[in-house]
Symmetry: C2
Subunit: 665 residues, 2 copies
């Protein structure tokens, strides 16, 4: 890199540089804040997103939000979508309702699919970051040059990445919105073109503009970089990772409007099928509804590309009116709209070595109609975030960074498969040969076959240093339904000392630690008490024949230990006492007292219909004998076994965490 032209460039260091402050970048930044990492997060836009963009939230994402502590704000503002209707023409071509189909799998999660503007979600994550740290998004800043010295990759103290940052002028960072008024309404509608992460952006143009003036530039040396910079990711291009796949030929319109219509299900999730295509209807907060509608097919003569500026709001409205007919459709308020051509693409890898990572739309693009984009992106950012953060502060083995692509890439592939099937249902123009029931049934089939994946209830994380699957040869697992590589299914438990109920998603807060979950079983039974006591002696370090995993590993700043123990027993809570449990399970702090929040009971509460004492059953754990787990900081199960298997559990942790150096004698 030549520095001659711009002598004003200052040079600085940061451990982690995050490019892009959308959902995936903010989730990664959250972990930097939690783990006290020296990090920066930049975004080329001068302001955060306020309207439009993504809006769908799946149950697993809400579980994550609960673990981060802001799920209640989402539920307060968001709109729940629990039932879907499929409207298809009957024999006479008349639109007829098929449904409702109830979507929530109430036994799998306490959350429903919800709709809330991406801008609000970003606000909540930013607020949460500020509870841990003063990390701020640097807006109106772009990265414009990149160097990577691979020879330094294995040196933990080295800063192998060099990025030049440029601060944009206000004008550059906040390009004037294009506004396109329809012929009718007097309102100036916000047009999303040129701003969305799914859309071609003006990256190069911004760089060129900026070069023309005396810009403020800065050379940043970083240990790690996480590219969360959208479908046209600059970061991805620097490391020559392609997006593989293809553009589809369909051009879509999307509008956020307050509808004026006599269509009865405009406030319910659903689809409306006409011979020329299918609309997706998504009810939103504040009487708004989002509609996705196929607008036209790309002219083959344009080489598969289309000029978005040829699409107007009036055209989208006319298409909705045509498909929804004979129901009426109009609006006076349009909060946001855009047109786009979907690229169904995925990068072959999400990382380059152990220093450079990509997340979200930077590595997978697809149609927004499955309502998964924001979810996948946030979960990508959450996944890479904690791993990079813990490695950066010297608490985790850099080898865990290899699990990122291994865990997230297969899910991106599934996402594309789901999208191809689901989008196909919207653009298929012929209803010949299919009855209305066929059409609706097929759509239900597609949704249901991907439900566990889409809702995030199954994650399918493969075997790795972070996920020790239980092989069949080892016999049945002690916790049959608690599968390493999966999340722990949420249950509401009662606190032994205070009697109050709490969801595991909140109990297992995303605040850093690996958690050893001791499912202590029925501790009224003497033999079981002795099993728990024996385990406690090992953990206390009193059993000299065994190694205790406690006090064995480095931690993150501000946290004494990276291992936290949570005990969940299955005895009736009235028949045992908090102080019956070994002290290591309810640790005493000389200032903050006993660890009341460390002992829980799988018991029902008459006053809480969600608290039913069905945790052990749901988890497939014997109520007498219990089991033991390790939860990763992201609430995914890393290891599971019997109470006696401390050696195996410690071996798992040894592979992940960094041991405290033995003092030299």
């Amino acid at each position: 890199m030549t520095m001659t032209q711009e002598t004003e460039a200052v040079e600085s260091q940061t451990d982690v540089l995050i490019i892009g402050a959308g959902p995936s970048g903010l989730m990664a930044a959250y972990w930097m804040a939690v783990c006290g990492v020296r990090a920066r997060i930049i975004d080329k836009k001068g302001t955060k997103v306020f309207t439009g963009q993504a809006d769908g939230l799946r149950p697993r994402t809400l579980e994550l939000f609960d673990s981060m502590g802001f799920q209640h704000r989402v539920i307060h503002e968001g709109h729940v979508a629990v039932e879907a209707n499929f409207w298809v023409p009957d024999e006479n071509g008349k639109l007829t309702r098929q449904g409702p189909h109830c979507s929530p799998k109430i036994n799998e999660s306490n959350h429903y699919n919800m709709l809330l503007n991406q801008g609000r979600i970003e606000r909540f994550v930013i607020d949460t970051i500020h509870k841990y740290s003063d990390l701020e998004v640097e807006r109106g800043v772009i990265a414009e040059s990149f160097e990577y010295d691979e020879t330094l990759e294995d040196n933990p103290d080295a800063y192998p990445i060099t990025v030049k940052l440029r601060t944009l002028s206000d004008e550059e960072a906040n390009p004037a919105h294009l506004t396109t008024n329809g012929s009718g309404p007097p309102t100036a509608f916000t047009n999303g073109m040129g701003r969305g992460s799914l859309l071609p952006d003006d990256w190069e143009e911004l760089i060129q503009k900026s070069r023309a003036r005396q810009a403020k530039t800065e050379i940043v040396k970083a240990k790690y970089i996480i590219g969360c910079d959208g479908a046209h990711s600059w970061t991805r291009k620097q490391v020559n990772i392609p997006l593989e796949g293809s553009m589809t030929e369909h051009i879509w319109g999307v509008i956020d409007v307050v509808p004026l219509t006599n269509f009865p299900d405009i406030r319910r999730l659903g689809t409306i099928t006409h011979s020329s295509g299918t609309i997706l209807v998504i009810p939103r907060e504040r009487r708004m509804v989002r509609l996705y509608v196929p607008v036209q097919i790309v002219d083959a003569s344009t080489n598969g590309r289309f000029d978005r500026s040829t699409i107007t709001l009036e055209m989208i409205k006319a298409r909705v009116q045509a498909i929804m007919s004979p129901f009426t459709f109009d609006f006076q308020v349009c909060d946001w709209w855009t047109a786009y051509q979907v690229g169904q693409r995925v990068a072959p890898t999400f990382n380059k070595g152990t220093r450079i990572f990509l997340a979200g739309d930077a590595v997978h693009t697809h149609s927004p109609k499955v309502g998964l984009g924001m979810n996948m992106s946030m979960q990508d950012g959450f996944n890479i975030g904690w791993k990079v953060a813990m490695v950066a502060v010297g608490a985790a083995n850099p080898a865990i960074l290899n699990t990122y692509t291994a865990e997230r890439h297969p899910l991106a592939e599934m996402l594309l498969e789901f999208d191809r099937l689901w989008s196909g249902e919207f653009t298929e123009t012929s209803t010949n040969g299919t009855t209305k029931a066929d059409k609706a049934d097929r759509m239900v089939d597609v949704v249901e076959s991907f439900m566990d994946f889409a809702d995030g209830l199954k994650a399918y994380y493969p075997n790795s240093s972070l996920v020790w699957k239980v092989s069949e040869e080892e016999g049945p697992a002690a916790a049959r339904n608690l599968i390493p590589g999966e999340r722990i299914p949420p249950m509401k438990l009662r606190n032994q000392a205070e009697g109050n109920s709490k969801w595991t998603t909140r109990l297992f807060e995303s605040d850093g630690p690996f958690r050893i979950i001791i499912l202590a079983g029925d501790v009224r039974v003497e033999a079981q008490q002795e099993r728990v006591a024996a385990l406690a002696r090992i953990l206390e370090g009193e059993d000299k024949t065994k190694v205790s995993p406690l006090c064995r590993y480095m931690s993150i700043p501000g946290r004494e230990s990276l291992i936290e123990i949570v005990t969940i027993h299955s005895a009736p809570w009235e028949e045992v006492e908090f102080f019956d449990f070994p002290e290591i399970l309810r640790p005493f702090d000389p200032v903050m007292g006993w660890g009341y929040e460390n002992i829980w009971c799988d018991a029902s509460a008459t006053w809480d219909p969600y608290c039913q004492g069905k945790g052990y059953e749901k988890w497939g754990v014997d109520r007498l004998r219990g089991a033991m787990l390790v939860l990763r900081p992201d609430q995914y199960i890393g290891w599971s076994g019997e109470l006696e298997e401390v050696d195996d559990m410690t071996a798992y942790l040894d592979g992940v965490l960094i041991k405290v150096p033995t003092p030299e004698l």
Copy 2:
């Protein structure tokens, strides 16, 4: 009033002046914001409360919070207290647990008793006020002179109240905390003395101090004044309303600490009785526990008064240790503490005429141990707030202001009765002749006999222009359990158009309107459909033989009508359509579309255990025939009757609201 010495005093007008920004003042201010009233709220303290003070929240208060839109923040931060234990000495004097007693009446409210610092509640109310208005609390401001011209009382345009305000210096508004360290711990503990509303304050001293310098003063002319300025209310003194009752002889200590103890129920609500008295244990947020403990009896020679400064934190701790023995007790963290002597007093009236009102501790003082102070105060402020606000903007008849004392005074009397019985249990020193079971049973009896009152489930508001009781001669009410003068018992309902569930507490938002609740019954049945249609024709103004209450009354700024119609039917939601209902029940707005949130169904939702379709049953309403109600803006039932009784309902509304002037011909 002489103005000669202070020529700098400016003069201004405000419609409503609220003195004191504690819980009651802020609730009153909330209504000023909602109704767009020109109002001011001042507080002598330079900052809001952060620690200590009140902490108990009862179900009805949480219901109000839900109607105001911040209940989710309270639940997220607060601590639930659902079960109580009573520890009493057994035959051998050994402390033994009696319990647990489960407190929530789950069929009456979806809320539990909760504990959260008053400072957080004030924060939430202030944030909510800002959603409606830019009304700000003016801190460090005292009122120091008062004039009232009674001859102007009946002139709605007059400003009969003149108050001189003085802005305090920072030093005056934020008196240094007294800090008293115990002999042991090194921490400087916050001492609540001199700051709490239950304690003698330094009002006069602040005025004197302020006079000594060139203070900024202001003459404010007001139409209404609401005195929410605590037990030593300056406002109350100006209008010569006494507090009647007496001081008790017991001096109490209260501490907010993070306890270090082996007492097993320190994280549960409960009492611990020893021969020398009883401690009340209240678990709080962030591992804190509040303890109330009788410290000593006032020396008769001091004329019933005691010098609080003789009480130290060490003395309180020693008392707790003595009563809790043989369990240990200590702490390193004390968030707040104080000592107080309880005055059990109530003012004979809460208003002077129709211009001057008093709320909260200004008109009733009692021991804090029933956990009701903040609740009663907020409900006072809420009650007078909407009434004054609506009268001030010309939307309601000033006669409704007379209902304030009539509705709230009897509850203050009940509060004192409850407090006398409950406090007595704490200071009764002899356990002779009573077994441990007797003692615990008696305490349970006291709590249970006041439960409905204390939780706020019954309000007992008497007959008035705002409450039209149904007399027995009229025969059985159409809604047997929906009693004018009571709140509407919360139920979770399903929205007809969108299928989502919502609590009535949130649906009947405290945002201004009187609501006509049409319990439309089983609208599948033709005869019932015709009853609803006939009602709709009257409401529409199509039935020329009847008067429609819609468009008949003045409204508050920003709201087209002060009457909102909400329909709740009892037919299975799948068997009726939103558009089946008469248009007046789902009004169309040319910009915001149809009133989807106006039609609800009393139906169950498989995915929501709280939504069970039991509303009609709970409310005592026939599922076929339904009923009709008017809810006041505070969710209390004002009127109830049959669907045909529109004339009677309109007569009720005529007595409360102001008719739109008939245009002159």
